[in-house]
Amino acid sequence: LSTLVLAEHEGGLIKNSSLSAVEAAKSLGGDNSISLLLAGSGHSLKEAAEHAASSHPSVSQVLIADSDKFTYPLAEPWAKLVHLVQQSGGYSHIIAASGSFGKNVLPRAAALLDISPITDVTKISGSNLFIRPIYAGNALSTVRYTGSSPCMLSIRATSFPVASETADLKSNAVSIDQVDLSTLDEDESVAKSTYVKLSAQISERPDLGNARIVVTGGRGVKSAENFKMIDKLAEKIGAAVGATRAAVDAGLVPNDLQVGQTGKIVAPELYMAFGVSGAIQHIAGMRDSKVIVAVNKDADAPIFQVADYGLVGDLFDVIPELLEKLPEKK
């Protein structure tokens, strides 16, 4: 086996979700040489490559594509890059985390290679046997890949947590090699998309995808003003803030907080839902959380069917009491 992992980096560091993709690669089988592919330009790429080389003991090679075409993660040059690297490397598997980057790039690259990708994999049962949720997680589909190499996957990062011993970095040097980009422009689409900007919410709190605790507000929170209570609670216990689609659509919070089938998939140790009814599309995004707490006025709300601890009550009474009585984050 040989696996190419499409990695994302930010601020000179490999993203955690990409390390989850390395974990997934490891579970494909024993004898697997894992290469990380990074793209970007200049100093930040160089820093990220050095981090990548010591980011995970299973990584045996780091490939970097250094070009101003990769300053931003556009699908057109990235897909062509994967095509080029596969042609020279002949990998048996290509994996990316199924965040918005992987969802955008992997299928396009697969089409260039004439491969059917398997997206949003939650379990690897063999080098060509995978489980993925369908119908918003209301069914699980086991699929076998029977086509030619490479087998292309996107994996759900929360299903492949990074083992903690990863911190013991191995000392042997992993080679960092440049990808030859001389034929990148052969794909005429490469010049046809331009990055304009990213409108991001700057937050001090942990990232929703990786947080140990997530506090979520639903439509029951009613207003953006009230949502500050959710923020306050999250701050007190060191949690990330999430929201339901209903809360996002009602304009209470920005879209990147949405948890659910079409938003983010989370699996924290503790998930606390306030004023969340529990639509199947929302449950799809949080059902793998270890402990689920639900607070809702409506005792019949479906969220109580998946909650470990339910409290039937008004969130406007419960949250102030929690704020008063919960211990500060450690």
């Binding site: 556009l74 699908a75 057109e76 897909a79 965040g99 918005s100 980057f101 969802k103 299928p107 396009r108 690259a109 697969a110 089409a111 260039l112 004439d114 491969i115 059917s116 997206t119 949003d120 046997l129 949720p133 369908i134 119908y135 918003a136 209301n138 069914a139 699980l140 589909s141 086991t142 699929v143 076998r144 890949y145 029977t146 086509g147 030619s148 689409s189 046809k192 998309s193 331009t194 990055y195 990213l198 991001a200 605790i213 879209n255 990147d256 089938q261 079409t262 503790l270 059902r287 270890k290 402990v291 707490v293 470990d308 601890y309 339910g310 409290l311 419960v318 009491e321 919960l326 211990p327």
Partner: protein
């Protein structure tokens, strides 16, 4: 400019699905079927572009068994000018669908191809990206805002992990639509009547010279493991106690 919109027929989003006892899939017989919600949004956006005067025609396309023409009729009733039905078996994978769409683009030569970002049955989220790759067109996936200008460019806001990303794409381009792009219209009764006389052109896979690529096999479809049922507590104090001493998460 002509706009092509790809439409999928799926189990209605409000139906609680059942896994078949023989684990071969999800029960779709005697179940309400509808247009995939993301496809409705894609069609609505195409109609709005036409109504703004920047496009002259909206062509709705669907690929599947004969029942898919019912879904195309819904699209025609919403306002599509005409439709194309490609006869094909159910459950073919996105790569083949993308090849069929590319073949239709070669015939119709649209300036924009709209698709929903994913279908709510298989949740694969692949077809738009794949057809864009095959066509060598730029792609704007998960769009929450689309602005076209006469310079033959589209500015697309995309819902990404870190917020909203804005891209500028040269047309022709592929755009896949997210939930917040628009609120699709309902078909009115007069428009439903009118739709009956709008043309639906048929193609077969042979006409388009596309072969079904089967490189995946569904081994089984099962129900997800159930969470064990929890408890309803009576007070915040009890909740904090449980979280501290039983679950040990705070």
């Amino acid at each position: 400019m002509k706009i092509m919109v790809a439409i999928k027929r799926v189990v209605d989003y409000a139906v609680k699905i059942r896994v078949k006892p023989d684990k071969s899939g999800v029960e779709t017989k005697n179940v309400k079927m509808s247009m995939n919600p993301f496809c409705e949004i894609a069609l609505e956006e195409a109609l709005r572009v036409r109504e703004s005067g920047l496009a002259s025609e909206v062509v709705a396309v669907s690929i599947g068994p004969v029942q898919f023409t019912e879904t195309l009729r819904t699209g025609l009733a919403m306002g599509a000018d005409r439709a194309i039905h490609v006869e094909a078996p159910e459950n073919i994978y996105p790569l083949t669908i993308a090849k069929i769409l590319k073949a239709l683009v070669d015939v119709e030569k649209p300036g924009l191809l709209f698709l929903g970002k994913q279908a709510i049955d298989n949740d694969q989220n692949q077809t738009g990206q794949m057809v864009a790759g095959l066509l060598k067109w730029p792609q704007g996936t998960f769009a929450s805002k689309v602005v076209l200008d006469k310079e033959k460019q589209a500015t697309v806001d995309r819902e990404v992990d870190g917020g909203i990303e804005t891209l500028c794409l040269d047309l022709p381009a592929v755009i896949t639509t997210d939930l917040r792009l628009n609120q699709p219209r309902y078909a009115t009764l007069p428009n439903i009547m009118k739709a009956k006389s709008k043309p639906i052109k048929k193609f077969t896979l042979q006409d388009l010279n596309v072969e079904i690529k089967s490189d995946l096999e569904v081994v089984e479809v099962t129900e997800p493991p159930k969470r064990k049922s929890g408890v309803i507590l009576s007070s915040v104090d009890e909740l904090i106690d449980k979280l501290k001493n039983e679950a040990r998460v705070i």
